[in-house]
Symmetry: C2
């Protein structure tokens, strides 16, 4: 089977954004009423999913998508913890409904109510709720909740440990994914996302996080940012600065996804990074939509590139399915319960 | 001939750093004396160059290096304009001495006295001095003088126009190169440098800078950061967001260098980016030193990778020499005056 480990509900019904707008309006004007949870019917959810992500997944032959709230809308820069908690709950509850309406096609991953500069207690609570009550199989963790100003300590800092402890206890991985950029210097999709991937990887190279948390698992999206393209640079820097070898210190616990939208990029990724560290993903419908006019197929049809890459069949199976089942054991259990 | 467009004087005699330390000490304690310019003999310069960059260039067969002060030491985050002006002059004067001691092997590129948040008048003056009095052929421009906090406007903003006007008048290009990271989240060599390359490129994709400055030329170092690896992503985002085509709007005026320290990276770069937009470079002795134990040759021996890449001989000649002569016309004039 083919598991797409990176999907966001970018096509959610309009009532979700209206709720968010009302939340933000009330932050500016506290005299406004507390907005009620958005009213969204099952029909609306079915329509937005069947007309978009599920339609395309079926066309391409993806069997299941690991699905989370829209990353750019997480908005962890909004400096009000209560607002963040409510927003994450509303978003996760909507993902839960997608996973119950389409249990064979979607598994949930949680948005956490992070707030730049605040402790992570509420994130730990929401992670526990999402996994134990909603059946989610992982979470998204934002290494820069400030939204482009990088005011948080590196992911190796103990600031993050409460989340890692809960992830370890629940045996769920995190995709390391930023939200929108509030910094005019850094375009959200064309700079901030990729920079976050690169920055995070280097934080892990510098530290020894997985000695402390040996079963903690991260997925770095967007093909690992700049990392595989500069694999020699990272290996060389690690040697020069006397960091432990990357293969042991980082790649023991980190995977990259395949959200790289052209054949040469996937060829490099699969040629440089061990197949055990690559998870199939498309981020459909995400940053890049529409067709590449050169070939008249969608930029984000990454299955096409992975199929064309020079890989042994066994390695392709790891990338398409087996690695995801290993990294997301709760997904594996869910699939097995379905007889898959 | 082979022109390495990206070298820094990372092996400068210790007196240079001692001068800088005295400068910074005086900023903390203004009662300290103004430090005198560092005393460095021609012999010391010869020793540090012949024992390092020139020795290795000869071993590898590089003919000329476009040479600038150490990038990580530019220190544009230090918030004192007068200090920045003096530091840039001292550094550039030292590069000038290298270029006069080894006129066939080195051409100068200027450090600018940028200060985060300050206007660029002093940078314009130093650029003019370096080009007209020291014979320099270009400059380094730092898109994030804050050192990892990205507080400056995008390179398409009119804040930067005074430098562009002077560059246009003098017909010199800029390499877009940040300095050290002051942000603990972003490692200087393993994150900040690459992020800056990616960020800058996307700023140019979003804008129309070269309509306003049609002869302005930028070199984005380190193989363009994450850009070539994600070439499909950038092309797709440009289409989706209705930016003009990257080839016309950006690549008309932008080149990437070849500071990518493994064969698959150079293969991707040369396979994806037009050979007219690639300048040979090694950044030797820079971020990555020492040998790749897998092949027992230096990580930064990029000539080896470019030679092994599947390129027509004519394209390899463009990458090794012709593009640099086009992008740096003052270098071309200097070489012609030498009969080269």
């Amino acid at each position: 089977m083919i598991i797409d480990c990176h999907g966001h509900y970018t096509t959610a019904p309009a009532a979700l954004q209206e709720f968010r707008d009302a939340q933000l309006a009330r932050l500016k004007d506290p005299s406004l009423p507390v907005p009620p949870a958005p009213e969204i019917s099952d029909e609306e959810i079915r329509g937005t999913i069947e007309g978009n992500q599920l339609r395309i997944a079926r066309e391409r032959g993806h069997d299941l998508t690991i699905f989370s709230p829209r990353a750019s809308s997480m908005g962890h820069h909004v400096a009000d913890p209560e607002t963040a908690v409510t927003w994450a709950r509303v978003c996760n509850d909507l993902i839960y409904r997608v996973t119950t309406l389409f249990p064979e096609n979607f598994a949930g991953v949680a948005q956490l109510p992070q707030v730049a500069g605040e402790p992570l207690d509420a994130s730990v609570r929401e992670l526990e709720r999402a996994v134990t009550e909603l059946g989610f199989v992982g979470c998204n963790l934002n290494p820069d909740p400030s939204g482009g100003f990088w005011s948080s300590p590196p992911l190796t800092d103990e600031y993050w440990f409460p989340v890692y402890e809960k992830m370890t206890e629940l045996d769920v991985p995190a995709m390391i994914h930023v939200s929108t950029s509030c910094n005019p210097a850094a375009h959200t999709l064309g700079a901030h996302y990729l920079n976050a991937d690169t920055t995070t990887f280097m934080q892990l190279v510098q530290g020894r996080l997985f000695e402390r948390f040996p079963t903690l698992r991260f997925v770095i999206p967007h093909g690992g940012g700049a990392v595989p393209y500069h694999w020699g640079r990272f290996k060389g820097i690690a040697m020069r600065e006397k960091f432990p070898p990357i293969e042991e210190n980082v790649m023991s616990n980190v995977c990259f996804d395949t959200c790289v939208y052209h054949q040469p990029g996937i060829d490099l990724l699969t040629g440089v990074v061990d197949a055990g560290n690559i998870l199939f993903a498309s981020e459909m419908l995400g940053a890049v939509r529409g067709n590449n006019p050169d070939g008249d197929f969608p930029w984000d049809d990454t299955k096409r590139y992975v199929e064309a890459a020079k890989l042994a069949d066994a390695d392709r199976a790891r990338i398409f399915e087996e690695n995801a089942r290993r990294v997301y054991p709760r997904l594996d259990a869910r699939l097995k319960a379905q007889g898959r």
